[in-house]
Point group: C2
Chain length 366, copies 2
C-alpha cells in the first residue's frame, strides 16, 4: 500500500429499526444504509466529512473494493489528496432507493416478503438528508465538519445546510443547481420513458436493460461538453469507412452503446427511475414560495460553490444564481468557476485549481 | 382567399423511369417524387426557387393541403412574404426515402412487390440533390434562381452549390453546418436506438410508435433552447402539485409526450431512421480530405448563411466555420446571426430581420 492510497476498504452497514416517514407520505418500516469511512475520527469527533453521491454513484467513494474497483472519487479522497484522509474522517453512504446495498427497490418489503421493485416509494433529497442524519447519530458525531457533493450530491449538501443548520459547519456544492430547469426535467423524462417503455420493465424474469442503456446513453451526452465530444471522437469511423447501415459506424456510437450496455449490467432500472425523480423534485425554495434567499436565511454553514465552464447540464449560470441568493441572504459564500473542457463530468476529475480550492476551504479556520 | 394567402395547393408527381444509382452503391429502379409549386414561372424560366425540407418536413411548404393543413413554412412563403410568390416560382419536393408520397420505405419494391420497409437503401444529401436536378429538368428550368433550406434543408442547398455550380445562382443556408459534430451524431444515434429497440420495429402488423415517439421527444429538446423551455414551461406542474409517480407531473413532460405521440401517428419510423443517417453522413469536404475551403472552390452561387443566437443543435459557431471557409475560398458570402430565443426552431419562424434579409438577398441583382 503506497502512501497516497487507501488500499482495501470495508463496507459497513447501519440498521435503522424504527419506521421512517418520507416526504411522499409513505413510510419505510426501518431501513439499512451501507457506508464506508476513510481516515480516522479525532477525539473531539469534529473532523467528519460526509460525501454525497450523484445519480449513479454509491458509498464506495475511495479506496479499493473487495473486487478491486476504485471508488468513484478516489482521485480526490485519500492521504494528501483534496479530501485529505490524514486530517479528515470521510464518510460515504449509499442513499435510500439505491441499488448498492442500502434499502431500495431490490430489498425485501417486510409487508409482503417480496422485493419492492416498482413499488418502492419515491424519495426526495430531504428524505436522504434526514436518513443521513440518523447515520450521523449512529456514528456518534456531534455534527458534520462538512457535507460535500457534486451534481445531485451537491443538492444534498445544500439541503443539509437548510434542514440542519446546527449540524453542519461547511458545505461544498459542486456542479449543481437550486432546482432543475425544464430542459433538465425533459432529459430525465425521456430517460424514464425509455425505461418504462422497455417490455422487460416489471417483467418477472427479465431486466429492462435496453431501456436503461438508452437512458444512460442520453445521460452521457449531457455529461460531456460538445467540445469534449469533438475532441474525443470527432467524426472518426469505427471501421475507417461508411458502411451504410445501422450498425456502429462512428466512434461516438460505439462509445455510447458500450457505456449504455455496461451500465445496464451493473445498475438497477428502478433505482435509475427514482434518482431522476429525486432530481426533478429538488426545489428547496418551494417552502418559501420560490424565494431562495429567504430559504437560505437560516443557513449557518460556510459555503463553497464550484462550477465548471463547459458544464451545460448544470451550467455555471445555475451556480451563480445560487451564489446570488446566498449573498442576498447575507451568508458566507465563495463561488469558483473553473475553466474546464470536460463538461459536467469535470466534477469527477481532479485538477490543481479544484483540489486546492477544496483543500483551502476545508482547512480554513476562523 | 385573402391577398396574403396561397389558398389550396395541389400536389404533383414526377416519375423518373430510369434506374437511379445511389452513393451507397445500390440502385433504385426509378422513383416517384411528389412536389408542390407556388407562384408563376416567368417566361425566361429564371425565377424558380427550390425550398428543401429538413428531417421531418415534406413538399407541403406553404398554402393549404387538401385536409386544410398549412405548409411548414407558410409564414415565410406566399404573396408579399419573405419568399414572395408574386415574384418567384417556388418549388417544394418530398425527398427520396420520405414518407409523404415520394419513393421511400412505404413504397413497393418492384423487385419483389413488397413494401421496402427497412430494406429501403440508405440515401445521402448528394443523392437527393441529384434527384432534385432531375425534377429541375422535368420542370424545364435552365437553372434554379435559388436553392434554400434550414437545418438538413440548408445542407441540401450547400450541396447544390458544390455539385451543380452552373445550375444554381444563389443559395440560402439556414441554421445548418458543414457536417455534424460528435454530439449531433450521438443524439441521432440514441433516436435510432430507441426506434430499433422498439419490439414493434419491423413487425408485420404493428408500428414502433413508442420508439419513434421517444426519438421525437429527444429531437424536441434539441430544437428548443434551454431559455425557451424555461420561458415556456418553467417548473410548472400539470396538476398543480407533485403526485410522486411516473405519470405526467411537469408541464414539460406533458408537452414532450404529446409531441412524441402525435408525431408517431403521422410519421414513418423507417424514414426517421434514414433521415438521421443522411444527417450523419453529410460531409461534403470529405472529397477534399476535410478541406472545406477547397471543396467550395468551384462554387459560383452567391451565398447567404443565417444562424440563430440560441440554436445549440447547429450553433452560430457552425455557420461561422462555414462562412470562414467561403471567405478562404474567396467566394461571395454573407453571414447573418439573428438574435432569437427560440433555439433551432427559430428557422421556422418569421421575424423582421430574417424576412428582410432573405428578401433583400433574393431581390439583389448585380
Amino acid at each position: 500500500m503506497s502512501n497516497d492510497s487507501l488500499g482495501r476498504v470495508e463496507t459497513k452497514s447501519f440498521m435503522h429499526k424504527d419506521s421512517f416517514s418520507l416526504k411522499s407520505g409513505k413510510t419505510l418500516q426501518g431501513f439499512e444504509m451501507v457506508y464506508q469511512t476513510y481516515g480516522e475520527l479525532n477525539e473531539a469527533k469534529d473532523n467528519a466529512i460526509l460525501i454525497c453521491h450523484a445519480l449513479s454513484g454509491n458509498h464506495h467513494v475511495a479506496g479499493l473494493s473487495e473486487d478491486n474497483k476504485k471508488g468513484w472519487w478516489d482521485d480526490m479522497v485519500g492521504p494528501n489528496k483534496a479530501f485529505d484522509t490524514n486530517k479528515y474522517f470521510i464518510v460515504g453512504c449509499n442513499n435510500l432507493g439505491g441499488c448498492h446495498g442500502s434499502t431500495g427497490p431490490n430489498s425485501i418489503n417486510p409487508e409482503n416478503n417480496m422485493a419492492y421493485g416498482s413499488s418502492f416509494p419515491m424519495v426526495t433529497v430531504g428524505d436522504w438528508v434526514k436518513s443521513q442524519d440518523l447515520l450521523r447519530t449512529h456514528l456518534g458525531l456531534p455534527y458534520w465538519y462538512a457535507v460535500v457533493g457534486g451534481s445531485l450530491g451537491g443538492m444534498q449538501a445544500l439541503q443539509w445546510s437548510i434542514d440542519f443548520p446546527d449540524l453542519v459547519k461547511k458545505i461544498v456544492v459542486i456542479a449543481a443547481a437550486a432546482k432543475l430547469s425544464a430542459q433538465n426535467i425533459a432529459f430525465n423524462e425521456i430517460a424514464r420513458q425509455a425505461i418504462l417503455a422497455d417490455p422487460n420493465y416489471n417483467s418477472e424474469d427479465k431486466l429492462p436493460k435496453t431501456g436503461l442503456g438508452l437512458a444512460r446513453m442520453l445521460g452521457h451526452i449531457t455529461y460531456l461538453s460538445d467540445d469534449a465530444m469533438r475532441e474525443k471522437f470527432g467524426r472518426d469511423m469505427k471501421k475507417g469507412e461508411v458502411n451504410f447501415s445501422y450498425d456502429v459506424e462512428f466512434e461516438v456510437e460505439s462509445y455510447l452503446r458500450y457505456q449504455g450496455e455496461s451500465f445496464s449490467n451493473r445498475f438497477d432500472a428502478h433505482t435509475y427511475l427514482l434518482m431522476t425523480k429525486v432530481l426533478d423534485y429538488f426545489d428547496p425554495a418551494e417552502s418559501h414560495e420560490g424565494d431562495l434567499a429567504k430559504t437560505l436565511k437560516s443557513v449557518t454553514a460556510k459555503t463553497l460553490l464550484i462550477a465548471f465552464s463547459s458544464d451545460w447540464r448544470f451550467s455555471p449560470e445555475r451556480s451563480r444564481e445560487l451564489a446570488n441568493a446566498f449573498i442576498e441572504a447575507e451568508k458566507d459564500v465563495s463561488f469558483l468557476e473553473i475553466d474546464s473542457p470536460h463538461g459536467h463530468d469535470a466534477f469527477l476529475m481532479p485538477s490543481e485549481t479544484y483540489d486546492s480550492a477544496i483543500e483551502t476551504f476545508l482547512d480554513k479556520n476562523e
